[in-house]
């Protein structure tokens, strides 16, 4: 009964979503308060119906009711409560339900925040139409509610939501459960974090669309949408970070990013939103960048739809194993409609926002030294990197359409084409604090930049002592050194104060400089986060070392100055599979000893082997050990291990969290300050 109620709720939410969109459209066309009220109620109802459907599915997952096919496919007896909750987004139909529930929640929140009837009306038409599409797919092609029924005579099992004539309810004793590779905190939280980021972007996009269709909307939409876009940006960052951490901990190849089309398609909205945030700041200060703000926000919103398309349509080859799904054709149509609409809105909003496009009357050479120019430059860089990413994803499909041959680009396309541009971004980030919006560099600042540029050769030379020089490696080390030094110099120079014509160093100002202006702290954290991430990436990309040793129990061998002893090697049968464990006692080149515990586990019911590395993390590097051989050889034989030394990798994770913290502060600071000013 309950399951039919859940399915009916899903259907009713489809009706209320259609009605909500229609009522909103009528309220806009007729300027009617009554229809506007109707539309608001439809929004509330849609949210309630969606909550009922999602809540019921969740309760079945928690109580492990294997009569429901979705529960049977995603949960098993060994899974903990958290894993069972995470199963809600474990497969396509459930994650689609979770997705539309989140969207209905966000629309409901928005309807409480927007006062202007017309603005809310236009936004609702857009949002509810999108929601209608997702609910329709969820109800028809990707329904999570079918149950299992068995024919007593033949023993065949059938799927149906309603009871089948002459058949018995069938409830398996155990479910199939989640792939063991996905049972990691990173993988549990990675999808909802990305979803929050993806869906969060619909809200500001809808407000921006509303502004484009209103006369005299002014600049208010800019202020209304900023927070929402930033919200999306933060959750995309968290999602990407969790996904990388999962790959690093679980996949056992010492890497964190594979340039897979699905990963790349999640990176594009993040890059475009980063460009957007900078355009907003540039706009607030100089009054320029308005068209860019309009374009970048909507382009980021479209890239989310595109990303969904890449992940779910099955038309683009990817390790994320979604096959061609029934929603492929409708998703393609939807993506194309969305693109056409967004282009239309962009043209409308640009033609409505006439801005002064002339540069300030300063010499061209001086303009190149201003912060305005740096902002134009970095927005261009982000846009070009996004375009390269898009090119890499679409090229195989386009080539196939044009010439009929199957061609692909490999990972080297992404690293070679975007790598130099990322280095330029790092250099721009270094120079940025010394620039001003209005004029070129003062002589003192120019000198500081030149001296830093020379000083940054030192780390390159130090690197050359142990590693051979290559162009890109040297350039990468030079740029990160350059920008880190300038970052520190900027913070120190702000601790100087002019007093009676003298410049004096005030240690307290090392901390108090962040009190004013209010954005200085979040900006410092965000940029520090980026620099640390870059440091970690340069460390692992250019200096990772990999080697193999075979060790018998009790045997000691040396790898890169690390003395490694295989202390223990065990094979045992556990309740859910064969476990092969090892303990390595290691003495590092500085004489410190530690143990790591790499293991493999073979999950029989999934026919799935998992390789979990043993990691010893320090700021200098990660010692990352993988047990290569499975449980074939006896414990007296030699066992093969692969070792990675991943220099500076932990700066990537630390930088990631610093970045998210900075973003979070940027999000809440303005409202905190407003409250303090009011109270």
């Amino acid at each position: 009964m309950t399951i039919q109620f859940a399915n009916a709720s899903l259907l009713f939410s489809l009706f209320t979503a259609i009605f909500g969109a229609a009522a909103a459209l009528i309220s806009v066309l007729r300027n009617s308060t009554l229809w506007s009220c109707s539309s608001r109620r439809a929004i509330l109802l849609t949210f309630l119906y969606q909550s009922a459907a999602a809540g019921i599915l969740l309760s079945y997952l928690i109580s492990r009711d294997y009569h429901i096919d979705y529960v049977y496919q995603t949960v098993d007896n060994s899974m903990s409560l958290w894993m069972r909750i995470a199963a809600l987004w474990g497969k396509q139909s459930g994650s689609l339900l979770f997705w539309s529930w989140l969207l209905s929640l966000f629309i409901f929140i928005l309807s409480g925040m927007v006062r202007d009837r017309r603005e809310l009306g236009i936004a609702t038409v857009f949002l509810m139409s999108n929601l209608t599409f997702f609910i329709y797919i969820n109800f028809s092609a990707e329904n999570p509610f079918p149950r299992l029924w068995t024919d007593i005579n033949t023993g065949n099992v059938y799927k149906s939501i309603a009871p089948l004539m002459g058949m018995m309810a069938y409830t398996p004793e155990n479910g199939l459960g989640m792939n063991p590779l996905l049972r990691h905190f990173g993988m549990v939280l990675h999808p909802p974090a990305l979803y929050l980021g993806y869906i969060g972007i619909f809200i500001p996009a809808s407000l921006q669309i509303a502004a484009a269709f209103q006369k005299n909307s002014g600049n208010q939409w800019l202020k209304n949408t900023r927070g929402w876009y930033l919200f999306s940006w933060i959750f995309l960052a968290i999602g990407l970070l969790l996904g990388s951490r999962w790959a690093y901990d679980v996949l056992g190849w010492g890497g964190y990013w594979g340039w897979d089309p699905v990963e790349v398609s999640a990176l594009i909205p993040f890059l475009l939103l980063t460009a957007y945030v900078h355009a907003v700041i540039g706009n607030r200060i100089t009054g320029k960048f308005r068209s860019l703000v309009a374009i970048l926000g909507l382009a980021a919103a479209f890239s989310v739809i595109f990303s969904t398309f890449v992940t779910r349509s099955g038309l683009i080859q990817s390790i994320h194993a979604f096959s061609v799904s029934p929603m492929s054709a409708s998703l393609t149509g939807y993506t194309i409609c969305f693109l056409i609409f967004i282009i239309f809105v962009i043209i409308r909003s640009i033609s409505a926002n006439v801005e002064s496009k002339t540069f300030e009357n300063i010499p061209f050479g001086a303009f190149l030294q201003t912060r305005t120019f740096i902002f134009y430059g970095l927005i261009t860089l982000f846009a070009v990197i996004s375009f390269f990413c898009l090119w890499g994803i679409l090229l195989p499909t386009v080539m196939n359409l044009i010439s009929g041959t199957s061609m692909v680009v490999d990972e080297s396309f992404y690293t070679q084409s975007t790598g130099p541009l990322f280095l330029l971004l790092i250099i721009a980030l270094g120079i940025y604090p010394l620039t001003s919006w209005k004029h070129g560099f003062s002589k003192r600042r120019l000198l500081a930049i030149i001296l830093t540029a020379i000083m940054s050769i030192v780390p390159v030379l130090l690197m050359g002592k142990t590693q051979p020089f290559t162009i890109w490696r040297s350039l990468a080390v030079w740029s990160i050194g350059f920008s880190l030094i300038l970052f520190v110099i900027d913070k120190i120079t702000h601790a100087f104060e002019d007093q009676e014509g003298e410049r004096k160093f005030r240690p307290a100002r090392l901390f108090t400089q962040y009190f004013h202006p209010r954005s200085r702290l979040s900006e410092a954290l965000l940029h520090l986060g980026v620099l640390l991430i870059a440091l970690g990436i340069i460390g692992i990309e250019f200096f990772q070392q990999e080697g193999q040793l075979s060790l018998a129990v009790g045997e000691t061998k040396t790898y890169q100055g690390y003395q490694i002893t295989l202390a223990q090697y065990d094979v045992q049968n556990t309740s859910d599979g064969m476990l092969t464990e090892s303990i390595l006692n290691v003495i590092d080149p500085k004489g410190k000893s530690f143990s790591v515990h790499p293991y493999r586990k073979y999950y029989g019911i999934y026919d799935q082997e998992t390789t979990i590395p043993g990691i010893r993390a320090t700021l200098q590097n990660d010692f990352y050990a993988i047990l290569m051989s499975s449980s074939v050889a006896g414990s007296n034989d030699a066992h093969l291990f692969t070792f990675f030394l991943n220099p500076l990798i932990n700066f990537l994770w630390i930088g990631g969290w610093v970045l998210c913290l900075g973003g979070f502060l940027a999000l809440i600071m303005p409202s905190l300050i407003r409250k303090r000013a009011n109270g």
Partner: protein, 168 residues
Amino acid sequence: MSDTIEINPPAKKKINWKLIIGLAVIIGGILFLLISTTRNSLQYFLTVDELLANPGNYETRDVRISGAVIGDSIRLNENDGTVQFTIANIPGDHKLIQQMGGMAKVLADSAANPEANRLDIIYHGAKPDLLKNESQAILTGKMIDNSTFEADEILLKCPTKYQGAANK
């Protein structure tokens, strides 16, 4: 207090050659980067059948191939850390695969079909967890002789197959 800067009145229309040259250089640079990296990294994506039709063509340049992994063939060499296995041909066309009953079925049929063209693979590196019977292997590398392919990169996909208990 506003931190907005007053914008100077628009200057008279004058062609800004420096700007145009600057933009041309930037666009040229971007196009150069795009075209050169695309040319460097573009690879043929072939089926086992296509590869074996002209194995000699692919000994000097990297290609990408796709096939069904045959579980019994997977061997791990403890001494040099190589993984050896055999893949069987699967069609390259999405639509054809759908017509044949979906990827999971095509992989299972190919792996079990002794008539299907097969190719031996050598891979230097850790054995990936998803390397198992009937998974789809997507490999990048070169032919080292007429029947052996040396892979530098390996990407594996396991289509979900839950048909065991629930036959529709």
